[in-house]
Amino acid sequence: MEKIEVEICMGTTCFIMGGESMQELASILQRKYQDKVNTKGIVCHGLCNTDCQYSKAPYVKVAGDVISEATVDKVLSAVNKKLGEEA
């Protein structure tokens, strides 16, 4: 089974707008899904720099799909959905 790629933005905007719980996202994913998920931090998805789109930050990509105003819950359910599709 192919791993699901989760890209977490470590850029300034996503970091500031993301709040504390987002910082735990990588370790939560790791704990919950272990080798089913491949988590990586990237500097910027380039989504926040268009007109006022920082208000929708933080952004996380799950298998290429953009999640805006990401929360831990939103990302987990997106990952669950992907896993369900693949199962």
Partner: protein, 492 residues
Amino acid sequence: MSTNDNQIKHLKREILVRITEAFLSGDFEENARKIPYAMRPKGCEVDLRCCVHKERAVIRDRIVAGLGYPIEKDDECTLLSTYAKGAAEREKPDEEILTVLQGACKGCVPSTVYVTDLCQGCVARPCKTTCRFGAISIINGKSHIDSSKCKNCGMCINACPYSAIAKIIVPCESVCPVDAIKKDESGHARIDFSKCISCGKCISACPFGAIHEKSQIVDVLSRIKEGKNVVAMIAPAIAGQFPYPVSKVRTALLKIGFKDVLEVAQGADVTTLTEAADFKERMNEGQSFMTTSCCAAYNELVKKHLPEIKPFVSETGTPMYYTAEIAKKRDPDCITVFISPCSSKRKEALDNPNVDYVINFEELGSILVAMKIEVNNLEDSEFETKSSKEGRNFPLSGGVAEAVKSALQYQGENIEVMPCVINGLNKQSIRELKNFAKNGKCPNGNLVEVMSCEGGCIGGNSALIAQRKAQKQITDYANEGGPVVKDSIEQK
């Protein structure tokens, strides 16, 4: 951290970003006026309040606070553009550092103890026998609390074997360690500034985000725009606040337009040595204990509520005090801006002519977002003066006492330092401090370190990173510093 808190933080930060953007836009007044409409445009979904108009009204109030004005004095018809103009032009920031947004305050149900439907009407009736005020009677086989007799002590809650008695809490009132926030006649929260110690606990506690610090970002941005020599003084807590090294954060500050950046840990080194000398003198004179003096909220507490402990409080200045002194000595005309996670430092700054402005980490972050500064992509930059390991550990609970202890050890002093750490001000710890003062001694040590926030400065209300992570980052950064010894400071 719940999603709810994150939503409030997201909202508050977005407003600060938009204020900064409006300021940078060239037409500050007009663009500030439009913020509520840009955030809640015609026909948008309304997810937080009853309707779009209420949301815009609350956002407007948040902007008023973001521009540094008190909501308490707002007449509701002054235009945001008028406030924006005033903020950019004013000479001094407003007094009192906090403001309550009446429009955002829910006017929570007053704190009461009441019996829920879970009451089984048991035969033992421990609630009734426990109540010392005779407030509980049995009506229709179930317990009933007479609110005119109830003192909210909560004894019955603990006594009930069914957990059937609940206490409604007013979050801001319950966290305030000095009873400075109370409901007014209309049921909305109001701060009594004669009691308030500016600790900022109410800011984090309110789930409606109704309490704001009055921001000074516009003042700072204006001075930068005027081309003044604006110097950033970064609190040592900053090492734990970004997922980037301090050397990059320093470059980011220069990019914002600060002419220089000083580590307040540099001033913390002066605090450590002065406090160590003070401690030594007091112990030699036979005093039984001394308390630290670097927490601004604690200093306010002493002034307003605990004058009896004053003789035991060190006379030493805070790290901010010494750092600002260093900056002003170099250039008396420079504008000093203290950057920290702390609300009470704003109060300290107002009383210190050497500190011109204070912005918090949330505000700094918002400026970075508005200026699209990608901190991670910046070059490193070095501080002119390197601070010590001890100075950099100041923002952690226990760090100050440890620094004083180390300094005395380095100096080869033969004085036993027994730290007693007060990790967070609350009613209980304030009672303890009162007892220390009353008895003239502290049973748990001779150097009492007091920090208003749990965990130390990293628990401040505008902290960006979860405490555990912040603590690790600070410790790592501190370990790069040398020991706090007099020679190293004098060389500087």
